[in-house]
């Protein structure tokens, strides 16, 4: 099992795609931090010295979830697109082990994405906030909660991505569906049916991060965490079932 996990981590390290995704995630995180700080206190946004504003700044790394979702999808669909799944299953014919190794590798990569996004967030925001006379204690709950939420969400969205990739093995289709969901469909559901929307993956991730929405319609943080965990487990299970059963032709 550990051999397979090492092989999956080696797969991630030996193409440029994961590095590109990481770079994009960190760049968008920096943009998020800058945007949140610059708009704080304007147009109804909470003032910079408020707990809400600080949480929103420190939660900017949540944007990494998009990229870990895509990474999870690529880890599965890339094998089918390039035909490497044949070699993978020849090396490890008990396929559930391959899926488990992929889940562990993506979970680890997701943690790394989330941790680096949080680090970048801290490096940009802490001195800037200090300059605005807003002191942020790195050990306080106001900081720890959004940072942990970013790390956990990034990892769990990677797991969801593995499940989506197993469900839709066509790489382009899987990514289009996932991004459409992330950027369009979930917002529509949230807009029309907020009571349903808060149970969806992004809503759960936001709840976990104790973000504040204008209408305040989110689950409690612990429930958000559990819902997100449930999504991860469900997608991991679906992914395993599908990859074990299907013929590889």
């Amino acid at each position: 099992m550990s051999d397979l996990i090492r092989a999956e981590l080696l797969k991630l390290r030996t193409t440029r795609v994961p590095y590109g995704l990481l770079g994009a995630a960190l760049a968008l995180t920096v943009l998020g931090v800058v945007g949140t700080i610059l708009t704080a206190g304007r147009d109804g946004a909470p003032p910079i010295e408020s707990t809400e504003a600080i949480r929103n700044v420190l939660g900017a790394g949540g944007t990494a979830t998009i990229f870990t979702l895509v990474l999870g999808i690529l880890v599965v669909t890339g094998e089918f697109r390039h035909g490497t799944i044949t070699q993978t299953f020849l090396v490890a014919p008990i396929r559930s082990r391959v899926v488990k190794a992929k889940l562990v590798a993506v979970l680890a990569a997701g943690f790394a994405f989330g941790a680096l996004a949080s680090l970048v967030t801290a490096v940009v925001s802490v001195p800037w906030l200090a300059a605005k006379d807003v002191s942020v204690s790195l050990l306080s709950a106001d900081v720890a909660v959004p940072v942990l939420a970013v790390v956990a969400s990034a990892a769990l969205f990677g797991v969801i991505g593995v499940g989506v990739g197993a469900l839709i093995r066509n790489q382009v289709a899987a990514i289009v569906v996932a991004l459409l969901w992330q950027f369009v469909l979930e917002s529509i559901v949230v807009g029309l049916l907020p009571d349903v929307g808060k149970w969806l993956p992004q809503g759960a991730a936001r709840a976990l991060a104790e973000e504040t929405l204008a209408d305040g319609n989110l689950l409690p943080p612990w429930a958000g965490g559990l819902v997100l965990l449930a999504y991860g487990a469900a997608f991991a299970l679906i992914g395993t079932r599908l990859l074990v059963q299907r013929d590889v032709t």
């Binding site: 051999d3 397979l4 090492r6 092989a7 080696l10 797969k11 030996t14 193409t15 440029r16 795609v17 890339g78 390039h82 035909g83 490497t84 044949t86 070699q87 993978t88 299953f89 020849l90 090396v91 490890a92 014919p93 008990i94 013929d247 590889v248 032709t249």
Partner: protein, 300 residues
């Protein structure tokens, strides 16, 4: 039971029967050609053998077990299934390291496997820039990582230049001579005729022949043998007496039909006629193959 054993194997994809009650065995220390026209079910059979496709019925085992139940499969069976199984942006050596690490083998095996197929100079190049022939060699390097005793190759000659095909023949021959077992598929008999000990021929998913090449030639009445002898006239008489038909005689060349090289050799030896060249007509071997595969699937 053979090293590779296929028993009553059937695979249906919806209404299409890709493999139909197929049975054959492959012995140790031999090269067996797995032949049939495109779409005959060769690839499906090999994929079932390797646990990638589940059979509708029947059983396929390697070393007495289904592939999925083998412990350390990479150390017992090496397989090359398609030339496209590589991530184009990955370096050749990394491609092999991933397989080695996953199989619990030392990563340095990647370098030695590349050397074994003559690709050591391309180790650090991205696979996307490889020619088809280089990719075939890389696939073979992957199959050799675990130093297995059994090789299963699906159309390995595709994309190889004549030099590459020559190299592959020598490679498979020496692998089998060292006690290894090879099952190699092809849709062209002549491609493997010089390498294989036996052939398993299928058409439309069904077995049509499992025999040595000689047995295959013996089956056909139209097989022609060309013999050169300084005593062509005497040889002709001896052969005719032995029941063979003489196609024509031209100088020292006698073209005999309705017999086999083996029989001609025996008659020549028995009558003390020296012969200095004898060839079975390979075109006829190809005819046998075409005849078998075109009629073989027609049976109800």
């Amino acid at each position: 039971m053979g090293v590779i054993s296929v028993q009553g194997l059937t695979k249906r994809f919806g209404a299409v029967v890709a493999v139909d009650a197929l049975s054959f065995e492959v012995d140790t220390g031999s090269v067996t050609g797995f032949l049939g026209p495109n779409g005959a079910g060769k690839t499906t059979t090999l994929r079932i053998l390797l646990g990638l496709v589940k059979p509708t019925a029947g059983r396929a085992t390697i070393l007495g077990q289904p592939y999925v139940e083998l412990t350390h499969p990479s150390r017992r069976v090496g397989a090359v299934l398609e030339a496209s199984g590589h991530h184009p942006a990955r370096r050749a050596v990394d491609h092999l390291r991933i397989a080695a690490v996953g199989a619990g083998l030392p990563p340095e095996r990647a370098e030695s496997a590349l050397a074994a197929v003559g690709l050591e100079a391309a180790a650090d190049r991205r696979v996307g820039g490889f020619s088809l022939g280089m990719r075939q060699r890389l696939g073979l390097a992957g199959a050799l990582l675990g130093d297995p005793g059994v090789l299963i190759l699906d159309e390995p000659a595709n994309g190889l230049d004549p030099e590459g095909i020559h190299w592959l023949r020598g490679f498979l021959r020496s692998f089998a001579d060292r006690g290894g077992t090879v099952l190699v598929s092809s849709h062209v008999l002549s491609e493997v005729a010089q390498t294989v000990d036996r052939v398993v021929i299928i058409a439309r998913g069904r077995l049509v022949a499992a025999a040595t090449l000689d047995e295959l030639v013996d089956r056909t009445a139209v097989a022609a043998v060309q013999v050169r002898s300084e005593e062509a006239e005497r040889l002709q008489e001896a052969l005719t007496a032995g029941g063979a038909g003489i196609h024509h005689v031209d100088g020292d060349l006698v073209v005999v039909t309705g017999t086999t090289a083996k029989a001609v050799g025996r008659i020549a030896a028995a009558t003390g006629i020296p012969i200095y060249e004898m060839t079975s007509d390979r075109a006829n071997l190809e005819e046998v193959f075409l005849e078998l595969t075109s009629s073989g699937g027609e049976r109800p």
